[in-house]
Amino acid sequence: MSLVVRNALIALLITIALAGTVAFAINYLNRARIAELSTVEDQLSIDILSLDTQFSLLEAAPCDSSASSTTLTSELANMGDRLSYAEGQLGSDNAQVIRLKEQYSLLEIRDYLITKQLSAACGGTKPATVLYFYSNAGDCADCDKAGYALSYLRTTYPSLRVYSFDYNLDLGALKTFIAISKVEQRLPAFVINNKHFYGFTSLEDLEKQFPKGALATTTNP
């Protein structure tokens, strides 16, 4: 075997090893991302169940409870950002991403319901709440714009609660939630304090859908 052929074979092995290492590293990091998401989701699940249970235990005087879902909502938003990034990396058809999205949607629905119950029982200022329905199936041209506008609103108005749902997710609870909320498949769809709004044209138009004073720049106590 000539020197050149020998060198070429060694170089080929090195190339395969390097490309394989890169591919393995990407796969490893993606798995680590999924594992972290899963851990965060498990913790959130426990926290929300705890809040739910606490709320039931203090049914007679729920407003005396120091429990609040505000912190959890913030963590849910952080979780949503991570999930969205992981979805971009792994693809929206990845089985693990779909499973995590299903869990995440369930957590969002529970948080939404608890917040609503607390608000109804204790009165006070109702937090501005947005239910946002999107699709990654290529049938929603304005969903990216709407998502970015909502990120801006959520950052600018910390008291705003945004719950994002993939309209096409095959999850019984979500389907029921969509049916109860009477959200049509005209995406992007928004339910802002129980008022329906479809399509996205501009941030200005979206802001007009909020009740007066709902967008405050201070956080809830």
Partner: protein
């Protein structure tokens, strides 16, 4: 299918080529070449003539000639031939100051191009070895001690030196300096397996008898050095490299002049390789040059253009999408960083990571080239400019050269 997938074979081949370069650098022939002792190998001190073709080089020719006269070599064996190729500036006056020097011969002729100046110089001397030095280049005093022993093997027809940029100042010059030093490692490795196809203008040496036997220098599509190297290879001779024979050359200082120079080099390569030397491509008789080096050089032109166009397409597409998404959102929010340094958000894209790997390997070879040649100077600015500029500027000359060859367009030398 994403367009990105089309880039993977090119990136894979780039990594393969760099791996091959590394393995070859570590192989016995390259190690032996690095261990080659200066001075020795030849029984007698051979006579040498260094030809300096000059066309409007009044600013640099004096320093170039002085650096040649400072070479550590027996004065009776070293001749400097200054060929004024019909300069229209003060070159004639500048070289006239060396008229009385016993080692200097001055030839004045009508302008006919660099190859005619070189041939005029060769015709005027009987030296055993002929060196060529561009009139904007300067050599280290011990360079000949490194070059001459490379001719010990009678099969060697030419020897190349270790070229870097003379006192780089701006980022464009630093970028070229890094690239040239990468070239030192490349030439050293591929010379050890006879895979060189260029004998650069700055301080390449030739066995005079071989050059004459091959018919002297030709126009060679404005790349007479490449054409001669290809002719030497085609005739079955070898081209060696002296990695510690340092020569410094002036490099273009602007993007426009750099693109013009490299367009000439690339069109010269394409026209030579698709013309008279087409038979070398893929020819197993010519070893690594035919099977790997020339196909890879051709592929690098194509892949450079394709990868650049792909990145440009992605850049424009993503920019348009980003602009569309951000329409109507306050600038204060858009320009405030919202990400975090959390590992979770670390980008892990195969295309990006393979590109980074290719770049890191290139930077490694720049360090290796510097160490092998003991080239002085710092590399920090070279690294920065090579990393951030080369990928955007080189496609300009690749595109321009490809268009020139496709549409048979000719351009001037300068």
């Amino acid at each position: 299918m994403s367009l990105e997938v089309l880039a993977y074979p090119f990136l894979f081949l780039a990594i393969f080529f760099e791996s091959f370069l590394l393995v070859t650098l570590l192989s016995a022939p390259a190690r032996k070449a690095r261990g080659r002792a200066p001075h020795g190998a030849l029984e007698e001190t051979p006579s040498i003539a260094v030809i300096v073709p000059c066309y409007n080089e009044e600013e640099t020719i004096t320093a170039t000639c002085e650096s040649l006269l400072a070479l550590e070599y027996p004065t009776d064996k070293l001749e400097v031939i200054l060929v004024d190729d019909g300069s229209t500036d003060g070159t004639a006056a500048a070289i006239a100051q060396f008229a009385g020097h016993p080692q200097v011969r001055i030839i004045s002729k009508e302008n006919g191009g660099k190859h005619t100046a070189l041939n005029a110089g060769i015709a005027s001397t009987s030296a055993e070895f002929i060196g060529c030095l561009d009139a904007d280049s300067f050599v280290e005093p011990d360079a000949l001690h490194e070059i001459v022993p490379c001719f010990a093997d009678a099969r060697v027809a030419a020897v190349t030196a270790a070229m870097s940029v003379h006192r780089p100042k701006n980022l464009i010059e630093h970028m070229q300096n890094a690239e040239y030093i990468f070239g030192i490692a490349y030439r050293h490795a591929f010379a050890s397996i006879n895979g060189l196809y260029v004998t650069p203008g700055p301080f390449s040496f030739y066995r005079r008898s071989t050059v004459l036997a091959l018919g002297g220098f030709r126009f060679g599509h404005q790349t007479e050095d490449m054409e001669m190297a290809l002719r030497i290879q085609q005739a079955g001779y070898g081209i060696e490299n002296a990695p510690r024979a340092r020569v410094y050359t002036k490099a273009p200082s602007t993007v426009a002049t750099l693109v013009k120079q490299r367009t000439r080099w690339t069109t010269g390569f394409l026209r030579n390789i698709f013309g008279e030397y087409r038979g070398l491509i893929g020819n197993r008789e010519h070893g690594v040059l035919g099977v790997l080096v020339l196909p890879a050089a051709l592929l690098s032109v194509g892949s450079g253009i394709l990868l650049f166009l792909y990145m440009l397409y992605e850049l424009i597409r993503n920019s348009l999408i980003a602009l569309d998404i951000r329409e109507g959102i306050p600038l204060s929010y858009i320009f405030t960083p919202h990400g975090s340094f959390d590992w979770f958000y670390m980008p892990t894209n195969l295309f990006m990571l393979l590109s980074v790997l290719t770049l890191l390997a290139s930077l490694l070879f720049i360090v290796v080239g510097k160490r092998i040649s003991k080239t002085p100077g710092r590399l920090a600015l070279g690294f920065i400019s090579y990393t951030f500029l080369y990928g955007f500027i080189s496609p300009l000359w690749l595109l321009r050269a490809t268009a020139d060859v496709t549409f048979s367009k000719s351009r001037g030398w300068r």
